[in-house]
Symmetry: C4
Subunit: 372 residues, 4 copies
């Protein structure tokens, strides 16, 4: 398909997916306030471009935790890709490799991490982890991710319990179809369930750090105080995320959370963000406000459902083209040129008394072209 925007992929995906699976991917917790706000909040921001900077050769590439990527957009971890396409995460990884995009493989993938890695030799893979109460089991999973060549662990911390998604309750969607399984949870001949572990705490994070040399990205940080604690506990990066609105409903849009987190982190480690990114300009807004990169979840699934590997490559290619195009229009040669003062809130108040002098104030001054 020849889509002109990410939204067209969603339309195509919706036509092809089982409605219950579409709802599983598209839906969120509670009243889906956060699902909607993630996108809407980007729409409330504006970009103020710079001009005449002569930026001919654009660079959209980034290096994150040692992984090289062609653009500051990662594939966010999402579960169950084989619901969208028979090749599942293999197809996603091949598209990520083809477009030089870092892919965060979900622990809840329907293809084992080893097979994902084998299917896409050039792919830069990170591994998303729910720390399991059985720490020995957790360690076996981490070892598999390391062996498969994953370059970072993305530890999800917003899920002490699972969010209540009413669409799934209404659709009666509770389990994967019989022929599919969470292959990364296969352990000694059986597939173990993913356990959401409310006792998980900063101490366990320390245990995990001792378990592996991989850099740890803490995913699901929304409160600045937790960003501070994360720094204190030696994380390699922080990912501002509300789980795409699928866990606690009513969490602010991630782009609204970003400035406070970025201010708290102060550049000590990269801050990533997912939630609501649908346009290249969204990427620029996040980067101008302090993100090192962003991740996209649902759009990748829409590409996968719409056209398999080709669809994912289409989504990622379109997004990169949009990022590059928007950078050019912003007068930026690279993502580092983006500055916070290029972002404004829609309709904000700038009419302070005395701030503006009407042009007519100058009518009596000589030498100024003036109204007559």
């Amino acid at each position: 398909m020849n889509a002109r925007s990410l939204r067209e992929f969603e339309i195509a995906a919706r036509e092809r997916l089982d409605p219950a699976h579409y709802d599983y991917f598209a839906g969120g917790a509670g009243d889906e306030v956060t699902v909607g706000d993630n996108e809407a909040a980007f729409g409330r921001l504006r970009l103020v471009p710079r001009v005449l900077r002569g930026a001919a050769k654009l660079q959209t590439g980034v290096t994150l935790l040692g992984s090289r990527a062609a653009m500051p957009v990662l594939v966010a971890p999402t579960a169950f890709h084989r619901l969208a396409d028979p090749e599942g995460e293999r197809a996603t990884a091949r598209a990520a490799a083809a477009t030089e995009t870092i892919m965060i493989v979900s622990m809840a993938a329907t293809v084992a991490i080893e097979e994902v890695a084998a299917a896409a030799p050039g792919a830069e893979l990170w591994f998303q982890l729910y720390v399991q109460p059985d720490l020995a089991f957790t360690e076996r999973i981490v070892r598999r991710a390391e062996a498969a060549g994953c370059k970072a662990l993305v530890v999800t911390v917003d899920s002490p319990v699972l969010g209540v998604r009413e669409r799934d309750l209404r659709n009666g969607f509770h389990d994967l179809p019989a022929q599919l399984a969470c292959e990364n949870l296969r352990d000694g001949g059986r597939v173990r369930p993913i356990v959401m572990w409310p006792e998980l705490s900063w101490e366990h994070l320390g245990a995990l750090r001792r378990m592996t040399a991989l850099p740890i990205v803490l995913k699901g940080v929304t409160h600045p105080a937790d960003a501070r604690l994360a720094l204190d506990h030696g994380v390699a990066a922080i990912m501002v995320s509300n789980h795409g609105g699928r866990q606690l409903d009513g969490v602010p849009a991630t782009i609204d959370l970003l400035p406070d987190i970025a201010a708290e982190v102060g550049g000590a480690v990269p801050v990533l963000l997912d939630g609501g990114v649908r346009r290249g300009t969204d990427v620029l807004k996040a980067l101008a406000l302090g993100a090192a990169a962003v991740a996209v979840g649902r759009p990748v699934l829409w590409g996968l459902a719409a056209d398999g590997e080709r669809g994912v490559a289409g989504v990622l290619g379109l997004l990169r083209a949009e990022v590059e195009h928007a950078l050019a229009l912003c007068g930026c040669a690279c993502v580092q040129d983006l500055e916070p003062d290029m972002v404004r809130v829609y309709g904000d108040r700038r009419l302070e008394p005395g701030m503006v002098r009407a042009y007519g104030d100058r009518r009596h001054e000589p030498g100024v072209v003036r109204r007559s």
Copy 2:
């Protein structure tokens, strides 16, 4: 019924109720601005969860004025339960007892307080009172409430006159059907009318305090200056309420009023709130902003109309589950862990000049993973 949210109870109730009775319960004064704003204002607030706090054993229980409850949500006083179900307030009280919820029985109940108490032996009951100009009659009512085991008096002060509810005028709904009566107003063989008493003043509150040892909750406080006066007059608790939008239309949403009241009260007595609570996350927002507990009115009626005692228990159980779930997702082990900084206003402005440094600012510093 197997409802997934409180809203589904309302849908079911609407199908079963006489339309004029549905309107009586659902409607409010004037243009129903306040009715709508009570809910909408919660929707403008956001919750910022904490992570990795290892809160395994959740406690949702509270003790309020000596009454123990399984959650910080009370049954607000509402009139005429027998319009919703033949068992009326008996059914509501049994469901409250079963779910360990404090029920504030309305003076305008269609079952006498003695029968309500007898029907639900384990229930924690409080009694809502409109002080009547005939103070001797008022005292007889208070004595009945005391004798029935009520643990507190909830004195409504927002009703010097009755609100004008245009739905009722249009429906011609003025009186209870002949077979129903406000049984708590039965006095010497007849049922007296409830008198809205404009002369009611702080002095009468003093008289009421001398009349009974029960703690007095002042219900209907919206102005911080009145919260101050209430403290000066020795109330045991303050309930921020706009009477569900049924008295003066145009009063702010209670959740918008809460912070100023809580600041004025400064923790001296518990602050309660009703109006617009429809989700567990609403409860958390109110508690984080200074409420000790909230009360729900209409949702209880929808449960009652939808499925009698079982419906009310369903509503209260669902709400408790949502509160517990939301606490877990907020990283809180108990309601005391909620803090004001976990609440933000939707889309508020956080883009102060100079506040955020773009990540690119650090590109020349050694040792930091950076974009290339």
Copy 3:
């Protein structure tokens, strides 16, 4: 008719009026932004009532410029009442007299001021004036108003030219039907046209003051600097008005303009307001923000068109009842009890850092009922 709100009068009027006449009354200038905002701005304000003030005997009466009225609501000057009812301004005046309401008779009335006064002996009448370039003719009009017993001159200053009302252009509505005329403009056997006079200035206001002993109300003030000038020029009262959105489109809602004007005037003279008042609570909001009284224009016309004199009396009676009812619910014995701190803007931000302490902060303090 038995209307429950002013809006029902408009519905009835719309059914009875010639559509072009309905549009003439209902419409405004340009895109009718100001027409809509006048009402919407009241909807953005909230009232915070006081409680337990024991206000039994309510007083809604006011004295304005020596005229006594039963409520702080005047009949605003509107043109062409005979388009709405054959009795025209006579009917309006009788209803004003019957409800003890001050009526500002329009210079563009379709009944002569003498006949209006004669038809309603007890009415308190003020006279609205467009100062005409022919000052002698202006003086003859003033003399007629004086002779008819008018107690004040309401000088409209927002009309140096006539607003462009596109509904009228589309309807081809330019003139009164042949049998109707602006009877106050009858002069020496002919009816002169009303001249909008752009040269009108503060100097002419001085001339007018010398011409008559009647107090002068300046109608159409929107800028605080003009309120200051009006005081300097000795006006007896200021009327904040955007001409019901019929002159310059895009003027702020009058209730949004009021606070600055009231602050500038500082109580030196009464400040009146028209535009968008549709509920008793709107009246209270305006008074709490500094208005001495408000005026209603279109609602009076809807009453007149719906049911003649009885309709106008219905509108005014309903409004008075709503004012009285709202005062009672606000705990006010009279309009002077309204205070600015009883008004808040809808959804305003009250979540300052550190302002609220969550109730849980006090859990370790003895003697406080607390959550467990």
Copy 4:
């Protein structure tokens, strides 16, 4: 046609234009957020008129960079007028001359600048320029514009690359029909393509200044820092523009950008603005906030498509009438009388504590007319 507002011209134009051409003119980049916001942002502003200033003789004329115009509204440069009317830019220029309006002829005109000038002898023409990488070619174009009598060069700087307009992609609209060409790009017997030149920088602007004595207007400035740089580089005027929302989507509305730019420029050179101007009151808002004049693009095209030269004259005449009318209603004799304090943001917060004293505060003071 006898249109009452600019919007009616668009309706008429839409009926006459090839839908793909309508979309080309009406559409914008990306999600067209900026297209919509340009107009909506004017709608969020309000005008506070002054009264009794006795301004009889209105002057709407301005002199800009030596060009005299009957009103502070220019024809913005837009491409391809022959898509709207066979006479194309000739018709537009004749209408501009007839209404004494400055026309900025687009480099992408479908009539050569010499022919445009010849067709409308009295017209004040400025020439819009995309600096071409082949500077010798650029100089030949500038020479042609000079020879044709253009009085200023309007250099567009917001287009290092071309915006992506999805309507055009969907319509397959990529090129002019075979019989039309960008006649100003004809060079040595062939029509060269317009090159969007990302390397364009402030240095090239210096080269351009040395190339010609014409004053240079920098079009497409949105960031105050670039306004400062523009002053440093000796531009004669700055035009705040987001290219009608056709380049980077998500740029703020120009009227939201104006105050900061005007404050930075401080009257040193005239600030112009285009984007979203659809009413005379929009013109006044921009001028009160610091613009010396504004430009209209799409409305001119709608006039041209609706009725050729007559349509353009209708648009410009209507706009001038609206400007004059609005000035009169604002109490301004000329555009210099507009002041920043005549503009307010819709619904802004003016309810500061203590700011307003209710009128009732003064009830005990003698000599003041008061409520009783």
